[in-house]
């Protein structure tokens, strides 16, 4: 007797989903993998239609794909039902699934979520982990339920957040840790060695989407908190402040090592050679590394300082 190879319906869109898709494509025959993503969309000023990163990768790997306008329509569901999937694997998909879509696979619908659930449920878990200054985060595979990110936990893999790690760096790292976890999860479910366990509601926290305004820096916060916000919100929605009434993006910064006797007031700028320092709350200092005035190219702190004479009264402010 032979066991029929597993059929997997893979739903994904963004870069974060790519390592898992590659791992799955290496593990099962191509005809047993159906990739579902959103249709190509016009992006940027060129208005050229571009496929999602997952759709592009599926093309490169020669995998069959399905890119319906509405994933939850009866016609889409019928098409996916015809494939008779054993598992539905959802990673960085960005579209909510209807209960009937979740119920499609014969065995289980699973999701890879980039936090240690029940912490940081929602669409921006990595940004929140950085902003909150968490020492540790990780990845979780969960059963997909009707309430987003509240499903039973299957497997988790924790990792320390690195000292100056930024959102794109953390995202890349967790996507690589997550891919083998998805494989282990499917194997664990297959062999029956994996026992799904409910999340502890008492430990739950949320990770809602950010708005542009969340990027406005409050210089009364201490330098570490501001630094965490900068590394958590770049490149999107980005962090910004105002200088001489003009909006300026703060792209990269680090808390300054020194604690001056007379720290500048919150928001006050100070040049130290080629270094650009800003006073923050609790007598702390932030060193700005990269910034971008509205409508201008990105600049290093040195380029910024060379471009203008800092005055005594120069400061960053919230308007």
């Amino acid at each position: 007797m032979t066991l029929p190879p597993l059929k997997i319906l893979f739903l994904g869109a963004g870069e974060f989903a790519l390592p898992t898709l590659e791992k799955l494509a290496a593990a099962i025959p191509a005809e047993n993998l159906l990739v579902v993503s959103q249709p190509a969309r016009a992006k940027g000023r060129g208005r050229k239609k571009s496929p999602t990163p997952v759709s592009e990768k599926a093309g490169a790997l020669g995998l069959e794909q399905f890119t319906p306008k509405d994933i939850n329509s009866p016609a889409s569901r019928a098409a996916m039902q015809d494939f008779e999937p054993d598992y539905l694997v959802l990673v960085d998909f960005g579209t909510r699934l209807a209960p009937a879509t979740i119920a499609l696979p014969k065995k289980a619908a699973i999701n890879l979520h980039p936090s240690l659930l029940p912490a940081f449920r929602g669409p921006a878990p990595m940004a929140w982990a950085l902003i909150k200054g968490e020492p540790v985060t990780g990845v979780t595979t969960q059963l997909i339920g009707e309430k987003i990110d509240c499903g039973h936990i299957l497997l988790q893999d924790p990792t320390f957040i690195r000292d100056h790690e930024t959102l794109p760096e953390l995202s890349r790292r967790l996507s690589l840790i997550g891919a083998p976890l998805v494989i282990d999860t499917i194997e664990g479910l297959e062999s029956g060695s994996l026992e799904p366990r409910p999340q502890d509601e008492n430990l739950a926290s949320k990770a809602p989407k950010f708005k542009k305004e969340d990027g406005l820096i409050n210089w009364n916060e201490n330098a570490t908190a501001i630094f965490n916000r900068i590394r958590g919100l770049n490149p999107w929605p980005g962090t910004y402040t105002f200088h001489r009434g003009k909006r300026i993006k703060i792209i990269k910064a680090v808390p300054a090592a020194e604690t001056p006797l007379l720290a500048p007031a919150p928001g006050e700028l100070r040049a130290d050679g080629q270094r650009l320092l800003v006073g923050c709350g609790q007598n702390s200092l932030l060193e700005i590394l990269e910034l971008q005035p509205a409508g201008k190219p990105l600049r290093t702190a040195a380029q910024f300082l060379n471009g203008q004479q800092l005055k005594q009264s120069d400061h960053f402010s919230t308007s």
């Binding site: 007797m1 032979t2 066991l3 029929p4 005809e31 194997e187 062999s191």
Partner: protein
């Protein structure tokens, strides 16, 4: 040990009732070893002697996982009790490129001989029970496609004729 050639449908040997084994000797042990190797290589989870062209009552199977294999070799196996119903999607090395849901007993007790000439009784449930029923069928000249609906079987026969089955 060696890799054996697997007979595929509609080979005549697959339709025959296999004969009982009277002597457990080294040549039988070697055949069993080769069958296990052939099965793992395929890969499959069970293989009966008729599938390698030998119409005798010998089967090998492994209901374990890749991390924890549980190989078994059974001589002259037979079901002594069976109850309950269950089903799963089955495939067969002798029926390549086709799988179907097959109804089976949920629990069985199998009596058999091992290669060291011990008589054993195995109580099996769910997947291991299904697996052994599939292999025991081979010893009776029955394939899993004999146990599915006429309609599903026709689909397979048509694919076979048109040559649209995937090549291995």
């Amino acid at each position: 040990m060696s890799i054996l050639e697997i007979e595929t449908y509609p080979a005549a040997v697959l339709k025959q009732k296999a004969t009982a084994i009277e002597n457990i000797d080294d040549s039988l042990r070697e055949l069993a070893d080769s069958m296990l190797e052939t099965m793992y290589r395929a890969p499959g989870v069970g293989l009966a002697a008729p599938q390698v062209g030998r119409s005798i009552r010998l089967l090998v199977a492994d209901p374990g996982s890749r991390e924890e294999p549980e190989p078994m070799i059974l001589v002259n196996p037979k079901i002594i009790t069976a109850e309950g119903r269950t089903s799963m999607q089955e495939g067969c090395l002798s029926v390549p490129g086709f799988t179907a849901e097959v109804e089976r007993y949920k629990q069985i007790v199998v009596q058999a001989w091992t290669l060291d000439e011990r008589e054993v009784e195995l109580e099996l449930e769910d997947f291991p029970a299904i697996l052994l029923q599939h292999e025991l069928d081979h010893l009776e000249g029955i394939l899993f496609i004999d146990r599915i609906s006429r309609l599903k079987r026709n689909i397979y026969e048509r694919k076979l004729k048109k040559g649209t089955l995937p090549e291995d």
